[in-house]
Amino acid sequence: MDWKRFAFIFLIIVVLIGAVVMVGITKSPPIITITSMLATTIAVATPLTLGALSGVFCERAGVVNIGIEGMMLTAAFFGWLGAIFMFHVFDFDKWPSILIGLVTAILAGALMGLLHAVLSITYKVDQIIGGTVINILAVGLTGFLNRQMFFGRGSAFGGQIPNSPGNLLNVHVPLTEVFTPICGNSTNCMDVVNALNSVLDQRPIAISAILLVFISHYVLFNTRWGLRTRAVGEHPKAADTVGINVVRMRYANVLIGGALAGLAGAYFTIESVPSFEPLLTNGRGFISLAAMIFGNWTPIGAWTSALVFGASQAFNIKMQLFREVIPPQWAFLQQSYVVGLIPYILTMIILTGIIGRTTPPAADGVPYEK
């Protein structure tokens, strides 16, 4: 990603946060607003970040993935179902159940990734169609099983949805411990550390999403695996000539992509709220896709774009909180529809190429024929 787009993204986030600070100035001091706004942004951007990473891995290897939405939805459902089954049917304790739910979600995502790989790599189905099939299949599968498992005849749960064992809790990031000796007696320094602490006061999947961004960046651009992945996505024939197994590389990366989308799905039912409802991903897989393109097929670019989308969502949440102190001339901002439009319009502007051109991998979407 070029500096122009980073500057653009940075500007949007600053404007969104600035607007919230101004609106809420009478209710909470700027520093509190800023940190809580950033914290919310990171939290709500988590599934978008992971979904966008899923797209980056698939598409860098040359497989277009518009099935992120379906992979997320499937994973969200099976993760939640897995946790409930462990908890209620096999009488596991709370935490093992949740953990197994998390693993189930990742596996479910990977399985949908496998389906996408089989369709688009082995059977050379048009990859956009393949992704659409995954999206439709996910809606049908989760809708059917959700109804059948809990309300169908012979249901193990007798016509009602049992309580889930719960969700993941905030993790402690040891910033204070690390920085106390460094800061010494400087209160300014400690203020900064405290502010950082409240921004990073996140749950495990949110934290791992940030780590995964940098891990993905390293893997894609600094390892042999990454070089090979990009080679099969840019010029599979050349990669094949030098002995890289194109099909295997593509399979592996689509599976990784599926697993990442699975983790994104786990965010909804294992981390955010411990419940499932049909269609709960509500288009966030598509926003991830947009974030990936917005970020020009790079992990860090995708993450910053996901943060823009997260910030506009956080903006809406904060506007609801400041409802009673909002000055009348700003009242229109409360209409979540107004600010809700920003990410979509931005994506379309980005796609026009006004703010730097996006360049997909050269062989993205093209099945490999020997």
């Binding site: 598409e59 277009v64 518009i66 369709l119 059977y123 050379k124 189905v125 048009d126 990859q127 956009i128 169609i129 393949g130 659409t132 099939v133 999206n135 439709i136 299949l137 809606v139 049908g140 599968l141 809708g143 059917f144 959700n146 109804r147 059948q148 309300f151 169908g152 005849r153 012979g154 288009g283 598509f286 896709l289 947009a290 393109i293 209409q335 529809y337 107004v338 809700g340 439009l341 979509y344 319009i345 994506t347 379309m348 796609l351 026009t352 190429g353 997909p360 050269a362 993205d364 979407g365 093209v366």
Partner: protein
């Protein structure tokens, strides 16, 4: 010039190719039905009773037939929209937004115009006006995407998805605010009822099937005629098959892309308009959800051929309509239908699987439906 020889071929060749085109979808449906049966057995249901219920609920009586036609009407329009775009090498995932926008604008003209003019409008002016406005709204919404594709290369898949959300957000705002039904005890986000002069009449007394269904069949014929018999249709198909060749043949590719999207959006807008004028007499938030993907499935199942789209739309409509009867007879959830439809679509899309199972040789070259982000 392959298309020339195709359209000029003799009847025997036509039936032959029609059979070939039908074979894969039919086998896909058959395979999905078998797999669906296995799923039903595995959850302890009776597949024969379930499928019997499905058939009885969709074709078993005059009322069932009428309801199937009611379901099929928007499916045909929206399926045609996606199919036409496919023919032009474009993937319109935005049928849902175009449909919702068509429904919203025609509802607005339907209920508010008499008030604005301060008089009753005769039906022969009001109804066509409402339909035209709905069509224009859908066409406009999709043409924006076509314009961006033609002049900036912005991919239509992403842009139609974004336009969906922009449309749905805007419509949520309108239906919760300026356009909300002010009836005393209304809490839902919906418009007031449209004037009687903007309503399409039912075909038979006592049944809900309306003239919109006939209009949908007519639209399918017109799309077929346009695609095969007119210059525009030839241009659309040529640009869809090979934009570079089209350019060298002197076709204005940019104009064709915009026109293809506009006509596609117009058809999707019609789907919404006809639902408002013929069935619901108002637009309600959430009604349009799911039509976009169903339309894609129908277009794929129909192999993007207008007749195929009509058959696929009737099949999907019958499944949706028969599902209630199936649930009544077997206590299986209605959502089973979505599973079945997804399986059908899976096998249609991955025809290689079907060819492998039934040992069918591949016929000629593959049809390019969409291209990667770069194209």
């Amino acid at each position: 010039m392959q298309s020339e020889t195709q359209s000029g071929s003799v009847t025997k060749g036509f039936t032959r190719s029609a059979l070939d085109a039908l074979l894969i979808p039919l086998l896909a449906i058959f395979t999905a039905v078998i797999l669906g049966g296995i799923i039903i057995v595995s959850v302890g249901g009776n597949p024969f009773l379930a499928y019997f219920g499905l058939l009885q609920g969709s074709f078993g009586s005059a009322k069932a037939l009428s309801e199937t036609a009611v379901w099929a009407t928007p499916y045909i329009f929206a399926g045609l929209a996606v199919a036409l775009a496919f023919k032009g090498g474009l993937f319109n995932i935005g049928a849902e937004g175009q449909l919702a926008l068509g429904a919203t604008t025609s509802a607005l003209i339907g209920y508010a115009l008499p008030g604005w003019l301060g008089m009753d409008i005769p039906a022969f002016i009001h109804l066509p006006l409402v339909v035209i406005v709905g069509m224009a709204a859908g066409a406009f919404w999709a043409a924006i995407v076509g314009f961006l594709k033609a002049y900036t290369g912005g991919h239509e898949v992403i842009n139609t998805i974004m336009m969906n959300y922009i449309a749905l957000n805007t419509i949520s705002f309108l239906l919760n605010g300026p356009m909300k039904d002010n009836a005393p005890n209304n809490v839902s986000a919906r418009t007031p009822l449209i004037a009687e002069s903007a309503q399409i009449a039912p075909i038979f007394d006592g049944l809900r099937v309306h003239w919109g269904f006939i209009l949908a069949l007519l639209a399918a014929f017109l799309v077929w005629w346009m695609l095969t018999k007119t210059t525009l249709g030839f241009e659309i198909r040529t640009v869809g098959a090979n934009p570079d060749a089209a350019k060298y043949a002197g076709i204005n590719v940019k104009r064709t892309i915009i026109l293809t999207m506009a006509i596609s959006g117009m058809l999707a807008g019609l789907a919404g308009t006809i639902e408002v004028t013929g069935l619901n007499y108002r637009h309600e938030l959430g009604f349009s959800i799911g039509y976009g993907f169903d339309a894609i499935a129908i277009a794929l199942l129909g192999k993007s051929h207008p007749l195929g789209v009509v058959l696929a739309a009737i099949l999907f409509a019958a499944m949706r309509n028969g599902a209630t009867r199936m649930q009544f007879l077997t206590q299986l959830p209605v959502d089973l239908i979505s599973m079945l439809q997804a399986l059908i679509l899976l096998f249609v899309a991955a025809d290689a699987i079907i060819r492998y199972i039934y040992r069918i040789k591949s016929q000629g070259e593959r049809v390019v439906l969409t291209r990667g982000w770069g194209g």
